[in-house]
Symmetry: C2
Subunit: 380 residues, 2 copies
Amino acid sequence: MSRREAGKTSATGQERSSRFRVVGDGSQLGPPDAVYREEVQLALRNRGTPLEGLRYPITPAGMHYLLSHFDIPDVDVSQWRLEVGGLVSRPLSLTLDDIKARPSVTLAVTMECAGNGRALLNPRPISQPWLVEAVGTAEWTGTPLGGFLDDVGVSKSAVDIVFTGLDQGVQGDEIQYYRRSLSVAECRREEVLLVYAMNGRPLEPQHGYPLRLLVPGWYGMASVKWLRSIECIGEPFRGYQMVGSYRYSQSEEDPGEPVTLIRVRALMIPPGIPDFVTRTRLVKAGEVTLTGRAWAGRLNVARVEVSDDGGETWSETELGDPVSPYAWRPWEYRWAARPGTYTLCVRAWDSEGNGQPTTQHWTFLGMGNNMAQRIDVVVE
Amino acid sequence: MSRREAGKTSATGQERSSRFRVVGDGSQLGPPDAVYREEVQLALRNRGTPLEGLRYPITPAGMHYLLSHFDIPDVDVSQWRLEVGGLVSRPLSLTLDDIKARPSVTLAVTMECAGNGRALLNPRPISQPWLVEAVGTAEWTGTPLGGFLDDVGVSKSAVDIVFTGLDQGVQGDEIQYYRRSLSVAECRREEVLLVYAMNGRPLEPQHGYPLRLLVPGWYGMASVKWLRSIECIGEPFRGYQMVGSYRYSQSEEDPGEPVTLIRVRALMIPPGIPDFVTRTRLVKAGEVTLTGRAWAGRLNVARVEVSDDGGETWSETELGDPVSPYAWRPWEYRWAARPGTYTLCVRAWDSEGNGQPTTQHWTFLGMGNNMAQRIDVVVE
């Protein structure tokens, strides 16, 4: 099934039968200098981590980036249950206390939205207009999913496990609960957790209260929030968020490859002080310590480089230790800042030799654009 | 001094000598269908309260709206001091423990950004592009400023008290710490606090850790975050954030009146479920309970009305009790939703008879635009 079939949309605006007004000219793409009001509305609901927040190894909960497709559900935990069913020996209906009574693990994990970088693309896919800030690292506490699956007795015939949230809405003209699947093998990886706490406190509503999935190394769409059910099924799951979204495609008709693991990326804490509107930086001449964080999903970060000439020449930075095997690591570089105007850049490589490009990685839905960050600086 | 002089800018783009690139055509205004990348960058750093978050009488800390002009400072509380000086008998340098040792008060306060509604204006002032979501209510804990001022012995010759934050940046081409003043009389009002906790927990960095001012009833710009000093002075304070910003002006040359107290506003929790991109709502036909919150700064909310025909006809809603004298109150209306498309609106009146307009309240900086909210709904 192509994304087009899954999305129940058609290639031209004329043929659409959406209940809702279409944003822009119906092409699902917008020009780089005109972000539509609906996209701004999404940017104001969701939020990035302010780049100076990269100074914290563990992002304060209220600073952590956030992306929700639909509304944040209102959950009465006394009524809430996690339903576990499908191809299992022992279907269950569990309370939050049942889940908290299981073995618990706390793990620092860097999470990033697959759409990070989208609004830097030209033409721009119309959706949440991320620039570079859709990333954060939290200490998540929960119970390993694998042991949980052992206890419910997943059938050998199960192929995928479907995770359904309580958040309901319309996307691609399809009414749906937010729903994603993972293969049984991915679910059995030891780092995959059912989590109920973030930075030592119960999840706030916007982060998935009372229970969410956490899939370290994957882009954030895999870590389904506000879990209502877990279902084991015998064939690959083809829900909208698997085939109609989160694809590396080149057009509306191209099904493309699925978006999975987080690609390598480094970010820099903007040095000096900002201009309020443009965020261009004003830096005092002299030695300036440039710092930031880098991550690579399930891989290690092998190298981070910076440039002060917009990417013409690069210098290697010094790497610090990662916060955890699934979290970012700090980097540092001493820059001799002389008066003038500069475009600082940073890029990273992972342990398999993949590096960040300095030009856009364009896809129709704006996924995985890990183009090197650029920061305009005035040194005085 | 006009805003123009304070901002060190001139009326035409040609004459500007800013260190930084100007956004748009230099007019400081943008068209309604083209929000610039720099504005999106601000929207991603700052954040609104998702409208469904209005269901909580006290907004969860991580959902509360946020607006910071410059970067969030990194404060080492062991080194931090609050310096109190100027026209006082006993200048002081205080630790956070000194302040926490003083009498404490906890107060629920609705705070709103003065620029809320800015991006709905046409033409659109270029700045943080708020639609309607820049509001939240928290329980703040701190010590009354008035008693504190008694203890330091404010001179009778003092006119204004200047509050300076640790956040530094450039605005209107002027390098500055964020700095605002209040008259001594305003500072002595019993509800004005120096606060160190929000919803029962120490302030997170983005909300002003370790200490901020809280001025209930005023728009948020008065509640200076990351306080570093309090200075009593003998003449009206004319810093950039007093005369170059936060003015009800009609042009760059017009000094206008200062922005002060929060104007009356009601918001509705969007009913039904959202379309992901447009946020248009899909509602099932039948009786639908429309709910939301309304507030009026230092005044009471007298009446809230809703419309299902884009503001042609209105019906009165039922009001609940306010959370505190300085916080919003809930409203409710039972709507008989029949199949069709609707634009729901809500508007409120305060206890002095001021109501929300249904057309824009245009100002050059986009301040105080409390135009009635509009929500597009499809009933099926």
